[in-house]
C-alpha cells in the first residue's frame, strides 16, 4: 500500500511541478467557436475561415475605422464621371509571402477565377456585373461596368489571389493554398493549421504597412463558449467576445479588471420582429404601428442584453453616415397602442381579454430559431407586452434549417423574430425591393413600395455619397412609417483583451481594424498574472 501511495505522490508532484511553465507573452491567442474550413475566402463562407484568411490576404480596398472605403492593395482609385469605369492604382513594391511581386496580373487572375464556373464560390455575382477588366500596366487595373453600380467598389475588397501559385489549379478550392498552406500579401504569414485545434500565424516583416506589432497570432478552436470563458480567466486566451451576461455579471471583479480591458461599442447587426404582410392580420399599417407602440424596447434591452445595446430605428447602424436619426419613433405606451388598435377596428367584444374584429380573434404565432437564447427571451417579453393590449401571441422555436427552408422560404409564418448583420455599404436592394419577394429571396415579409424601389435603384447607381444619403434617408423614413419590421435593437459588441496589448482604439469599425498597430507592453514577459 505504501508503495502505491509513493507513486501517487510522485505523479501528483510531477504534474503540478510543470504548472509553472509560462506561456509566450509575445503571442496573441484568440478563441474561435469553429474550425477553419479553408483559407481562400472566395470559396469559404463561414466566419472562422474568413477571419483566418484576413490575417494572410488583402483586398484592393477595405473599410477604415469609420467604415469608409480606403485603399489597401490599391493606393487610390478614380471613378469615371459616368460611373461606368473604376481605375485602381495599385501599391508598388508589394510582395507575396514567397517573395514574388504583386501586380495587376494577380487582380485580373482573381477576377477570372471569381467568374469561372469551376470555382465553387457563392460570391461571383458582384463580379459578373463587370463588363471587362484591363491591365494597361502592372500597377493599374481598369474595371468597366454596363451601368454604374456603387456596391461594386466594395466588392473589390475580395482577397486578391496569387496568380503564380494558383494558375495551375483548375479548381482553386482543391489547391494547397486553400487546404494547408495559404500564401498572401497580408500582415501575417501562415505557420501551421492543426485541424480542430489551432491555426498559427507569424508577423510578416515585409508587410507594406510595416511589420505588425504582435509577433505571433494563434487562433485556438474551442467550440464551447463556457470553456472559452474559463480559458480566458485562466490565461489560456488573450481575448474573446463576451456575452452580455459575462460582461454585466461575471467580469465585474477587480481580478478580471487587472488582467483584461473590456470594450463596448455597437455591433454590426440588429434584431427585428418581421410581419408577413400578406397576412390579413398585419396588412393594416395602423396595426403594425400599434404593435410597435405596445412593445417595450427598453425592457427588452434591459432584460435580454443587460442594457448593453440600443434601440434600433431602422436597418442602419446608429452613428454611421447613412443613419437617419429623424425618423418616426414609437415610444412604449400600451394605452396609445390600444387606441390605435381600436381605430383599426380591433375591440374586445366578449370581454375575454383578446381583441376581435369581424368575429376573429387577434391571435398569431411568432417563429424564431432554436438555440438562440436572446431571441427566445425577446419573444417572451413581446408576448407579455402584446397580451397587455389584447393580442395573443404564441411562440414557436424551430431548428435553423427547418425554420428557413420549411417556413421562411415558403412564407408559412405570421411573424418572425430574426436579425440581420449590417454591411458598411448601405445598399439593401435584396431585402426591401419588391422584385425580391420570390421563394428563397430575402424580402420574405413581402414588402412592396414603389418609392422605396425607385430609391433603392437610385442609391446603387451613383457613387456620390451625398446623393446616396438622400435616397437612404428617405428609405429609412418610409420603413419607419410603414413598419414591415418592428426594429428592435442593436446589441453591443463586448470584447475583452488582455491588458498587455496596447494601442487598441475602439471606433465605429470595432477594435480590430488597427490590429497591426497593436503592440505588446514592455516587460510583459515578467507579468506573472498573465501566465499560469
Amino acid at each position: 500500500m505504501s508503495r502505491s501511495l509513493l507513486i501517487a505522490v510522485f505523479v501528483a508532484g510531477f504534474l503540478v511541478s510543470s504548472c509553472g511553465s509560462k506561456s509566450d507573452p509575445y503571442t496573441y491567442r484568440e478563441g474561435s467557436i469553429a474550425d477553419v474550413s479553408g483559407f481562400l475566402s472566395a470559396v469559404t463562407s463561414d466566419f472562422a475561415s474568413h477571419e483566418a484568411a484576413g490575417y494572410v490576404f488583402n483586398g484592393l480596398v477595405r473599410y477604415d475605422k469609420n467604415l469608409k472605403l480606403e485603399g489597401e492593395l490599391a493606393d487610390s482609385w478614380d471613378v469615371s464621371p459616368d460611373g461606368l469605369k473604376i481605375t485602381f492604382h495599385l501599391r508598388k513594391g508589394v510582395k507575396w509571402h514567397d517573395g514574388a511581386p504583386f501586380t495587376a496580373a494577380d487582380v485580373l487572375f482573381t477576377y477570372r477565377k471569381m467568374i469561372d464556373p469551376k470555382t465553387p464560390t457563392a460570391y461571383g455575382e458582384d463580379f459578373k456585373q463587370v463588363k471587362s477588366v484591363e491591365t494597361p500596366d502592372p500597377h493599374t487595373v481598369v474595371v468597366s461596368y454596363d451601368k454604374p453600380f456603387a456596391p461594386a467598389l466594395a466588392s473589390w475588397g475580395m482577397h486578391i489571389l496569387p496568380k503564380h501559385l494558383l494558375e495551375k489549379y483548375d479548381d482553386i478550392a482543391k489547391s494547397p493554398l486553400n487546404r494547408s498552406h495559404p500564401v498572401g500579401t497580408g500582415p501575417y504569414r501562415f505557420v501551421e493549421w492543426k485541424s480542430g485545434a489551432k491555426v498559427a500565424f507569424e508577423a510578416n516583416p515585409d508587410y507594406f504597412e510595416g511589420k505588425p506589432g504582435i509577433p505571433k497570432v494563434v487562433v485556438r478552436v474551442i467550440p464551447d463558449q463556457a470553456t472559452q470563458f474559463l480559458e480566458l480567466k485562466s490565461g489560456g486566451l488573450d481575448s474573446m467576445t463576451l456575452t452580455p451576461l459575462q460582461y454585466a455579471r461575471q467580469t465585474e471583479t477587480p481580478e478580471f479588471r487587472k488582467k483584461f480591458n473590456r470594450y463596448r461599442y455597437p455591433s454590426m447587426g440588429y434584431s427585428y420582429l418581421g410581419f408577413n404582410l400578406s397576412s390579413p392580420l398585419f396588412s393594416d399599417r395602423r396595426v403594425r404601428q400599434a404593435i410597435a407602440t405596445a412593445i417595450d424596447r427598453k425592457q427588452i434591452i434591459q432584460g435580454v442584453l443587460f442594457g448593453l445595446g440600443q434601440e434600433a430605428t431602422g436597418p442602419y447602424l446608429p452613428g454611421t453616415w447613412v443613419y437617419n436619426p429623424n425618423v418616426k419613433r414609437y415610444p412604449y405606451d400600451p394605452s396609445v397602442a390600444k387606441a390605435m388598435l381600436a381605430e383599426a377596428g380591433w375591440k374586445d367584444v366578449d370581454g375575454d381579454g383578446v381583441l376581435e374584429k369581424d368575429g376573429k380573434k387577434f391571435t398569431f404565432t411568432v417563429l424564431t430559431n432554436a438555440g438562440n437564447e436572446s431571441r427566445s427571451k425577446v419573444a417572451a417579453i413581446i408576448q407579455q407586452n402584446l397580451a397587455a393590449v389584447g393580442i395573443k401571441m404564441e411562440i414557436r422555436t424551430l431548428e435553423w434549417a427547418a425554420f428557413l427552408n420549411d417556413f421562411v422560404d415558403k412564407r408559412k409564418f405570421d411573424a418572425l423574430i430574426l436579425g440581420w448583420s449590417i454591411t458598411p455599404d448601405p445598399d439593401q436592394f435584396d431585402i426591401w425591393s419588391s422584385t425580391k419577394t420570390g421563394p428563397k429571396e430575402l424580402n420574405h415579409v413581402g414588402f412592396r413600395n414603389a418609392e422605396v424601389d425607385r430609391l433603392l435603384e437610385a442609391g446603387r447607381r451613383t457613387f456620390d455619397q451625398a446623393a446616396r444619403k438622400k435616397a437612404y434617408d428617405r428609405i429609412q423614413e418610409i420603413l419607419a412609417e410603414e413598419l414591415p419590421y418592428v426594429f428592435l435593437y442593436v446589441p453591443d459588441a463586448l470584447p475583452a483583451v488582455a491588458v498587455r496589448f496596447k494601442g487598441i482604439e475602439p471606433a465605429p469599425a470595432g477594435i480590430s481594424y488597427n490590429f497591426i498597430k497593436w503592440r505588446i507592453e514592455e516587460g510583459a514577459e515578467g507579468k506573472s498574472a498573465l501566465t499560469h
Binding site: L15, P120, A173, V221, L230, A401, L442
Partner: protein, 325 residues
C-alpha cells in the same frame, strides 16, 4: 463455431449496406443542405450561384444516382471528398482524428475497468457493508451527474482556481518547443480531466454489473467447495470466483467497441478535443454528406464487429454456449 462466425461475417456487409441506405435517406430528409446552409440569408448569393454549387457537389442528380455513385466509390474503399470548402478526402479527415478519440476512450475504458472490477468485487463480498453502500452512492452520483457539468466544475477548480491543470485542448501551445519528457507530461496533464470525467460517468454500469455477477458466482457450489477445501478467502474470491464472474463483463467490453471511436460530442466540445465526436458534430451541422455517411457507416461496422467479438469471446470462454450452437 466456425460456421457460426462465418454466417455472422457474411451477414455483416448486408447489414452495413442496409444501414447505409437508411442513413443516406434520413440525411437527405433533414431540412437544408450543404449549399443552403452556407448561402441562406446571404444577399450576395444568387439562385444561380446556388444551383452552380449544387451541381459542383453533384447534388443536382436524383437521389438514387447520388447513392449509387457513393456506393461504387465506397466499394473501392474511397469515401469521397468532404463538402467542406477545403474539399479534403473524408478518410484523411477521419484518420487524423482516430488516434485522439481512440486513446482518450481507451484510457477512460481502462480506468473504468481498473476501478470498477475491484469496486464491484469488494461490494459483493462485503454485501450490505458501509463500503458497499458508499460505493453504490458514489457510482450512481457519477452516473446521474451530467458530464458537462462535472467537467465545468473540475475545470473551474483545477484550471481557474488552483491553476494545476490545463482547461482544454490536447497539448499546450508551446508543445513543439518542449523536450520529450516535457511533451509526455504536457499530454498527460491535458488528459487528466477528460479521462477522469469520461470514466466517472461510466463507472456505475461496470461496477454494478460486476457486483451482481460476483454475487451470483459466490453462491455457486464450486465456491463452497473451494472454501471447504480450506482455501484462503482471498484466493477463493480473486482466483476462483472472479474469473467466472468476469465472463459476462466481456459482453460489456464488446459493446463498448463502437464507443471507442464514436467519441462524445459533448465531452470533446467542452474540452476542445479535436476528436471524431467533434468532427461528427461539425459535419452534421454543416450537412457535409460524405463525411456524415462515412462516420455512420464506420459506426455501424464497429457496432456489428463489437457484437460479433463479444459473442465469439463469450463462446470461447464458456463451452456451454458453444455446445448450444
Amino acid at each position: 463455431m466456425f460456421r457460426y462466425i462465418l454466417r455472422r461475417l457474411l451477414l455483416m456487409p448486408v447489414m452495413v449496406l442496409g444501414i447505409s441506405i437508411i442513413s443516406f435517406g434520413v440525411m437527405h430528409l433533414a431540412p437544408g443542405g450543404p449549399v443552403s446552409l452556407a448561402s441562406d440569408l446571404n444577399p450576395k448569393v444568387t439562385a444561380e450561384a446556388r444551383a452552380r454549387l449544387n451541381a459542383y457537389y453533384g447534388l443536382d442528380k436524383p437521389l438514387h444516382v447520388q447513392y449509387l455513385n457513393w456506393l461504387s466509390r465506397v466499394a473501392r474503399f474511397d469515401f469521397g471528398d468532404s463538402f467542406a470548402p477545403d474539399g479534403r478526402k473524408v478518410w484523411h479527415k477521419i484518420r487524423e482524428r482516430i488516434p485522439v478519440t481512440l486513446s482518450i476512450n481507451l484510457l477512460s475504458e481502462g480506468l473504468i475497468f481498473l476501478v470498477a472490477v475491484p469496486l464491484g468485487v469488494y461490494a459483493a463480498v462485503r454485501r450490505g457493508s458501509l463500503f458497499d453502500k458508499a460505493s453504490t452512492v458514489t457510482v450512481f452520483v457519477g452516473f446521474a451527474m451530467p458530464s458537462f457539468w462535472l467537467a465545468l466544475l473540475l475545470m473551474i477548480l483545477f484550471g481557474v482556481k488552483l491553476g494545476w491543470l490545463p482547461i482544454s485542448g490536447l497539448v499546450s501551445l508551446e508543445y513543439d518547443s518542449l523536450d520529450l519528457a516535457g511533451k509526455i507530461v504536457d499530454r498527460v496533464r491535458h488528459l487528466v480531466l477528460p479521462v477522469f470525467v469520461g470514466a466517472f460517468g461510466g463507472l456505475a454500469g461496470y461496477s454494478r454489473f460486476m457486483r451482481s455477477t460476483m454475487l451470483e458466482t459466490i453462491r455457486q457450489d464450486y465456491i463452497a467447495t473451494a472454501r471447504a477445501k480450506g482455501l484462503r478467502e482471498r484466493a477463493v474470491v480473486w482466483r476462483h470466483a472472479l474469473r467466472n464472474a468476469l465472463l459476462p463483463v466481456i459482453t460489456l467490453l464488446g459493446l463498448s467497441v463502437p464507443g471507442l471511436l464514436g467519441g462524445s460530442v459533448i465531452m470533446e466540445s467542452i474540452f476542445a478535443i479535436p476528436g471524431l465526436g467533434q468532427l461528427f458534430f461539425q459535419s452534421v451541422m454543416s450537412r457535409d454528406y460524405p463525411l456524415i455517411l462515412a462516420e455512420l457507416v464506420l459506426g455501424a461496422f464497429l457496432t456489428l464487429l463489437g457484437n460479433l467479438l463479444a459473442d465469439v469471446g463469450y463462446a470461447v470462454a464458456d463451452p456451454r454456449i458453444r455446445a448450444g450452437n
